[in-house]
Amino acid sequence: MRNCLYILVFLLDAGLAHAIDEPGIDDSFFDEPGMVISKSETGSATEPEPDLYRVRLELGFGYASLLADPLVGEGFGGALHLGVRIHSRVEIEAAVFAGANSYEGLISAAAPYFLAANVSLGTSVHLLPLSSRFFLTLDVGSGAYMVFSPLDGVVWNWVIHGGLSLGFRFTSWMGVGVKCRYHLFNLAGPGFRDLNSLTLVGVIDRLEMPAYLAFYF
């Protein structure tokens, strides 16, 4: 109770403090060892402030799959992500991913690869304590998906995606990680025909898991 009273007095302005600054009372009393009040917003009074980067640039490469499609095999792709922190736990992210999946069966004679790329904007939310070197973010986004169709040429359509990113920051400016992102594309757009049935393709899903090298600024 006494300590609370002393802290309350400490917070008064100079004029009021002067009123109690009478001979015999030493203001330095309030600065004695053990009574350190940290003004940090995010940490406890005894933890250092987390090193929050402002900009994140990631270069990735990894697995891409069209999941249930029996005539399209697994593939690979490259990724580029740019994140800008707008809040301690929230980033805005621009993402580019381009990949190739091999056609299988007889239609592979007509076209060896299903080629596609997405350019999207989204949000990443940090889920782990910010003081940790590990990152786990929940990512969602939307944007444009480009498909190269042997029959229709380059076709653009709408994509939405969501997933998780797991990373480790081993220096203040560099880290590594892996992303797992599920895309739903061809949600809207002019449409394109598939090589097998020559009919219009509906909504398509794609799972991408690139490993990435990250740079923080």
């Binding site: 069209l66 999941l67 249930a68 499609d69 029996p70 005539l71 399209v72 007889l106 239609i107 004679a109 007509a110 299903f114 229709d152 040429g153 969501g162 599920y182 739903l184 025909r193 598939d194 090589l195 097998n196 049935s197 020559l198 009919t199 393709v201 509906g202 909504v203 398509i204 899903d205 799972l207």
Partner: protein, 257 residues
């Protein structure tokens, strides 16, 4: 709510979505699922391919058995004026009934036909018979050279030109030259007359390669139809007997094409 329970719903949604089976390729209907008109089209195409296959077997060591099969004749797609062999052991032929009304009117304009029935008759003879044989000639090239070699080494212009010329030679070998060549002359003349001013100067390999998407556009493939008729006219002038035509293809890897 327990920590594990918080993740249950979103993870379940992911698993459910991953198992929904969205695909970039669609399945073709089986033969039994086709309409009667589509089955009739297949029967006509098969009759022509059987005859061509007989010629191939009689003159070479090869055959096109792989496509002489009703399950390898693909006619179920709609809204495309399309005849192709993509190297996938399938002959793709658009049936008259599966064309959109605007496409039927376009074909009527091509052939300068008076009625829809006249247009239909010409369309079926042109695509179900003559063009089907040219797709069979492509299949012969795929069997001899492999699709990978053909698609990597031959231009679309030359490949179509040669397959159409081989089809013309086939009808000579079948003693149907007067019937088919006469029909093709009558059918292609209005195409060449109407669109010659637009395409005759561009009837070459480079133009075709550079403008292929617009020439084969599903709404208006008039440009490609002009090219087909151009190949037919040139093929009648350049034709050789079918044996020479088939043997020449087998020699292709040794020449610069």
């Amino acid at each position: 709510m327990k920590q594990s329970q918080k993740w249950f719903l979103p993870m379940s949604a992911v698993v459910l979505l991953c198992s929904c089976g969205f695909t970039v390729t669609n399945e073709r209907p089986t033969y039994d699922e086709l309409d009667p008109e589509e089955k009739d089209a297949i029967a006509t195409v098969l009759a022509e391919l059987n005859a061509f296959n007989g010629q191939v077997k009689a003159r070479t060591e090869f055959n096109i058995d792989s496509v002489v099969d009703r399950n390898r004749i693909h006619v179920s797609f709609e809204g495309l004026i399309f005849s192709a062999n993509l190297g996938d052991n399938t002959i793709h032929v658009a049936t008259w009934e599966n064309l959109r009304p605007a496409q039927k009117l376009l074909v009527q304009q091509w052939f300068a036909a008076s009625t829809a029935d006249e247009t239909k008759e010409k369309y079926e003879k042109f695509f179900y018979q003559f063009m089907a044989v040219s797709q069979g000639a492509k299949q012969y090239a795929y069997e001899v050279l492999t699709p990978k070699w053909v698609l990597a080494r031959r231009s679309i212009f030359n490949f179509e030109r040669d397959s159409i010329r081989a089809a013309l030679s086939h009808y000579v070998a079948e003693d149907r030259q007067n019937e088919m060549w006469g029909f093709l002359s009558t059918t292609c003349k209005p195409v060449l007359d109407q669109y010659g001013a637009q395409y005759s100067q561009n009837f070459n390999k480079k133009y075709l390669q550079a403008h292929l998407p617009e020439l084969i556009h599903s709404d208006n493939p008039t440009g490609y139809m002009y090219f087909i008729c151009g190949w037919i006219e040139n093929g009648k002038a350049d034709w050789v007997n079918l044996t020479a035509e088939l043997e020449w293809i087998a020699d292709l890897p040794n020449t610069d094409t």
